[in-house]
Each structure stands twice: as structure tokens, then as C-alpha cells.
């Protein structure tokens, strides 16, 4: 098999090949000749290697994404699960209805609330832990890192079981701690004002580890010399943090913020397992709303429209974040 790529750097090898085509080595013309045969093989191989993924991708991802879009313009309901083609095209009706649907507007607000409080909290605490672990701790680093990361790898159902008891107003963990100092615990998950903050705390607890690991990797990529130079110049800890750590950490900060925001905009599991959207829809997020409309009431067309509104919002916010945070570096 004569496979030579465009690697002009290796004319010697090419010449050594017994089956090399007539004009090896050197010039652009001959290179194109050699490239052609190898391109043929690599082209075929490339596509063959891509096929399994592409097939799965097309059937189980691309098709559903497009189907959601199509469904969002129909009255797709329960009976269409068996007869999808019988659904009626109703144009933009679902989308129009969404924006006069108080429940949907409330779920949008709740999701925004979750993101606006949850993302900065997660990023800030993740950064603090990462900086402390990276600069102040030299022993038992792994132990601490594992400890902070453990909630990330824990099944949401187990997390929910534990947190229900942590937050239980009669015999929960927090109730117990409060009773030690003579206070009674509020009913965290039963209160319209406290339910969402409780879920945010839970989400921060669950996701802090991911952000922390990202920041640790980012911190370790900062060359030691840069820090030393700053210290030699008499920079204090805070100056060093502000002048060196933060600017050099900006790519990581950007990435962590974007993925956390996307994750939180999609928040579903916490309210689903903890509150089911209660009390009075105060923890009903867009994803949970979509799930309920789709799988409990089988308003699948309507739910699809919801999914697409959320998707567009996510795309918009991600683009905005990339722009804002990137421009700052220039």
C-alpha cells in the first residue's frame, strides 16, 4: 500500500518505498501525484471509521432534534405516539400559546432565578476551593480533591434521598443543628420562598467539584516563573491573584461559566426528584415543565415548542457569554 500524505518533510522515505509512483520526492506536482493515491485510501478509511458514529448520531440525535422542531408545529399528542404521521400541522400556535401561558412564564422566571444565583455561586466557590487547594495545601491534596468531587459522581436519586432528610423540618440535619441553639427549622421544601434557594444550594453542592477540577487544571497550567517574577517584584497575594491568576485563568473561567450556565439552564433533576415543581410551581423549571407536559399530559407538540424556546435561549446566552468574556481579554 503506497500511502504517503502531503508530508513534504519526508522525501527520503518516500523514495525508499519500493512501489512509489514514478516521480517521487520534491516538487509540488509530484506531491500531488503521491497525495492522490494516499488520499484515496485515507478518504475511504476516514469515512469507514466515521460511519458507526455517524449512523448512531443521525438516528438518535440529529433525527430527534429535527423531529422536535417539526413536532413543535403540530398538535402531537398521546395517540400520535403510535401514529406519528396523523398529527396536525398547526403552525406557530404552540409558540403563541406559550407566551400567554402563566405556567410557562413562571417556569422561565424560575429557571432564570436558578441560573442567576446558582452560576456565580458555583463558579466563585469552585474557584476559592481550587486556589486554596493549589496554593495553600501541599499534603493530602488528593484526599481533599476527592472529597470535594465526590458529590459529582453520586446518583441524583441518592442525593435526593439524603437531601430530603438534610432539609426535613422535623427530624432533618439542619433542623437538628438549629434545635441545638433553640431555633425551629423552616419547612425548606414546603415554602414558596425557600424551596428554590434550597435547590440552588443542593445544585452548588453537586456541581462545585467539576468547576474546582477545571480551575485546578487551569491554575497548574500557569507557569511558576510568572508567579515568581511577580513575587520578586513585591506583589502581595491579592495583587498576584488579581494581576496574574485571574487574567491567565480567563479561558478556564470562560469554559467553566459556559458549561455551568448551560447545565443550570437545563436544570431538571433537582426539582424533579425533590419537589416536582411544588409548592405552587415555585420550583417548576422549563425542563421540568416540558417533561410534565410531554410525558404526564402527552401534550408533546406543546412540550416540543417549549424545548425549542429553551434551546434558543441557551444558544443566545452562550453566544453572549462567549462574546463578553472573550472580548475582555483583548
Amino acid at each position: 500500500m503506497r500511502t504517503m500524505t502531503s508530508k513534504a518533510a519526508q522525501p527520503a522515505k518516500v523514495q525508499a518505498g519500493p512501489e512509489t509512483s514514478g516521480s517521487p520526492a520534491g516538487g509540488p506536482a509530484s506531491r500531488r501525484g503521491g497525495k492522490k493515491s494516499s488520499m484515496g485510501v485515507q478518504n475511504l478509511a476516514g469515512w469507514l471509521f466515521s460511519t458507526p458514529f455517524l449512523v448512531l448520531f443521525l438516528v438518535f440525535m440529529a433525527f430527534p432534534i429535527l423531529a422536535t422542531l417539526v413536532m413543535s408545529f403540530t398538535d402531537f399528542g398521546l395517540r400520535n405516539v403510535t401514529h406519528p404521521l396523523d398529527a396536525n400541522f398547526i403552525g406557530l400556535e404552540n409558540y403563541v400559546n406559550l407566551f400567554s401561558d402563566d405556567k410557562f412564564l413562571k417556569s422561565l422566571f424560575n429557571t432564570a432565578y436558578f441560573v442567576v444565583i446558582g452560576v456565580p455561586l458555583t463558579i466563585f466557590l469552585g474557584l476559592v476551593v481550587a486556589v486554596l487547594l493549589n496554593n495553600g495545601i501541599d499534603r493530602a491534596r488528593t484526599f481533599f480533591r476527592v472529597g470535594f468531587y465526590a458529590p459529582v459522581v453520586t446518583t441524583i436519586v441518592a442525593v435526593a434521598v439524603v437531601w430530603r432528610f438534610v432539609l426535613d423540618p422535623s427530624d432533618g440535619l439542619i433542623a437538628g443543628l438549629l434545635s441545638e441553639v433553640g431555633l425551629t427549622s423552616p419547612d425548606f421544601l414546603g415554602s414558596e420562598t425557600l424551596a428554590m434557594p434550597s435547590l440552588i444550594v443542593m445544585a452548588v453542592w453537586r456541581n462545585l467539584g467539576t468547576v474546582m477540577v477545571l480551575f485546578i487544571a487551569g491554575l497548574q497550567a500557569i507557569p511558576t516563573e510568572v508567579r515568581e517574577a511577580a513575587r520578586l517584584d513585591g506583589a502581595g497575594m491579592w495583587q498576584e491573584f488579581k494581576g496574574i491568576t485571574v487574567p491567565l485563568l480567563r479561558p478556564t473561567l470562560l469554559y467553566a461559566t459556559v458549561i455551568t450556565t448551560i447545565g443550570y439552564l437545563n436544570v431538571f433533576e433537582e426539582p424533579f426528584v425533590m419537589t416536582q415543581g411544588d409548592p405552587s410551581d415555585s420550583t417548576l423549571t422549563v425542563s421540568l415543565n416540558m417533561y410534565r407536559e410531554g410525558f404526564n399530559f402527552f401534550h408533546m407538540g406543546y412540550a416540543s415548542a417549549m424545548a425549542y424556546v429553551l434551546f434558543v435561549v441557551i444558544m443566545g446566552i452562550t453566544a453572549l457569554q462567549l462574546r463578553l468574556l472573550k472580548d475582555n481579554t483583548k
Partner: protein, 304 residues
């Protein structure tokens, strides 16, 4: 478990900065001595808060009913009991759900290892028309929220009669974009000369992929296995949708159904704590054993 010692595993921790103390003892040592104890105190306090729910769960699993509902709450049980575990195993067929979860997670992991590596290899090392477009597709797929696909996926699986089947649980996760991205990143670091030499010797691409490239990226394969396995093990939403028959429930779905059914768990916090502990324990042990691969994988994805 030997994967932890995989020879090529790149440590996320670069050489510790010896310079700090060596070159400028006076300048660097002083503030350090002051800030270190403070850092330990802060981090330890944080860790205590983070692990309190876990400790609470683990300890509660061994409490008696009186201690579970005691007020003020009892932290350390005085009468350690296995009652909760016994009751749980009587009421919930945990071995069945455990096996379901293992089967699904193993199949998902294996298929990701093969398919993501194949595409990763093509994207990193083969020059073919459309390569950039496919890579763009992979990057795009990374951004799409999973919830966007749930409804048609459910309809599709119903039409294919794959609801309540392992295939229905596995196929939507059989090849993920994250895996492709990860494998491509690692495979790019393999020198082209090595592959060229093999091609010169008449090796086909399939041979090169299996015999040369795959053994060289073992650490990346370990990383991908852990992520995929845990992702599948902890997956909740899709198994919840794709199974109606309790015999096909995965562990999280079975536990969630059990927890919300008043006839079964009926107020027995102890049983639920025991169940959660049994679901979490294998994962946490696996994670602790292989944690270096986790951090490495996240770092790779984050650094791009």
C-alpha cells in the same frame, strides 16, 4: 483497577514548584507559613460541609428506627443494626436492578470506547474530505441539551418496540460526542511518523488503529471508560422514560420508584438511606480508585 498505574497516564499535577522554597526562602516562606494553616482550616471546614450529607446517609443506614427519628438527631448510632439492609433486600430486588445497571453501563461503555475511538482516530490522523465538517458536527453535538431529544426519542423507541429493552436503554448513548472529542485530543499527540512507518510496511488503517494507536491511548481509554460508565450508572431521566416494566428498571429508577411509593418505603428513612448507600458505594469506590483519570479527562476537555 490496574488502570491507575497505566504507564502513560499523564499526571494532572505538574512538578511541584520547588522554586518557591529553594530559590527565595526569605521571600516565599514567610507569607506561606501564615497562609497555610488558614488554608487547611478553610478547606477542612468546606470538606466537612460537603461530606456531611454523605456521612449522615452512611451512619443513618445503620440506625434503629428510634435513633432515626430522635430529636435532637443522633449522629453516631449506639445500637448498630443491619435491620435496614435486611428489610430493604426483602422488599426490593436489588440484585436484579444492580445487574440491569451493570449490563447497560458495560454495553454503553464498550460501544463508546470502540465507536468514539474510531471517529477520534479518523479526525486526528486521517485526511479525508468532510473531516472538518464531521468535527464541527461533534462540537455542535456537545452543546445540544439532552432534553431536546427526549420526546421524539421516546416515540422512536416506541415505534421500534425498544421500550423496556436493554437496546432501548443503550442505543441513545452508544456513541457520545464527548468521547470523540476526548479521543481525538489524545490521538493527535501520536507522532505521524509512527503511522507513516507502519503504512510504509504495508499496514492497513484498521490494523494501525487496533494494533498501534489503541494501545498507545490506554490512559485516554481508561478516562473515557470511567466517565461513560459513571454517566450511564447515574443516568436517571432516560431510563425513567424508557422503562415501564419494573423488571427492566435500572438502579436509580428502582430506588426512586421505591422511595416515592408509600406502600413500600413507607416512611422508613433507614431503608432509603441503606438503599442510597448501596447505590453510591460502588461508584465512590470506583471513583476514588481511578480519580486521577477523572481530573485528567476534565482537564483535557477544559483546556481544548
Amino acid at each position: 483497577m490496574s488502570a491507575t498505574n497505566a504507564p502513560g497516564a499523564v499526571s494532572t499535577a505538574p512538578p511541584q514548584k520547588p522554586g518557591d522554597t529553594h530559590t527565595r526562602p526569605s521571600a516565599a516562606k514567610k507569607p506561606r507559613n501564615l497562609k497555610r494553616p488558614l488554608a487547611y482550616v478553610l478547606v477542612s471546614a468546606g470538606l466537612l460541609v460537603m461530606s456531611a450529607p454523605f456521612l449522615w446517609m452512611a451512619l443513618s443506614a445503620f440506625k434503629t428506627q428510634t435513633e432515626l427519628t430522635a430529636s435532637p438527631p443522633v449522629w453516631i448510632p449506639t445500637d448498630w443494626t443491619l435491620e435496614n439492609f435486611r428489610n430493604l433486600l426483602d422488599k426490593l430486588d436489588l440484585p436484579l436492578y444492580f445487574m440491569n445497571s451493570v449490563i447497560v453501563a458495560v454495553l454503553v461503555t464498550l460501544s463508546n470506547l470502540v465507536f468514539c475511538s474510531m471517529l477520534g482516530y479518523a479526525l486526528a490522523k486521517l485526511k479525508f474530505a468532510g473531516r472538518n465538517k464531521i468535527f464541527g458536527l461533534v462540537l455542535g453535538a456537545l452543546m445540544v441539551p439532552g432534553n431536546l431529544m427526549l420526546l421524539p426519542l421516546f416515540v422512536l423507541m416506541s415505534k421500534l418496540h425498544l421500550i423496556d429493552s436493554y437496546a432501548g436503554l443503550v442505543l441513545p448513548f452508544a456513541a457520545g460526542a464527548f468521547g470523540v472529542f476526548l479521543m481525538r485530543q489524545f490521538m493527535q499527540s501520536i507522532p505521524d511518523e509512527l503511522l507513516e512507518a507502519a503504512r510504509m510496511d504495508g499496514a492497513g488503517e484498521w490494523y494501525i488503529f487496533w494494533r498501534i494507536v489503541m494501545p498507545l491511548v490506554k490512559p485516554a481509554l481508561a478516562t473515557l471508560s470511567i466517565f461513560t460508565f459513571l454517566g450511564s450508572w447515574n443516568n436517571f431521566v432516560w431510563p425513567l422514560i424508557a422503562t415501564n416494566d419494573p423488571d427492566k428498571y435500572t438502579l436509580p429508577v428502582a430506588l426512586a420508584t421505591f422511595a416515592t411509593d408509600p406502600n413500600k418505603a413507607g416512611g422508613s428513612n433507614g431503608m432509603l438511606m441503606a438503599g442510597s448507600l448501596l447505590v453510591v458505594l460502588p461508584v465512590v469506590v470506583l471513583f476514588i480508585a481511578l480519580q486521577r483519570h477523572f481530573t485528567q479527562g476534565i482537564a483535557t476537555a477544559g483546556m481544548k
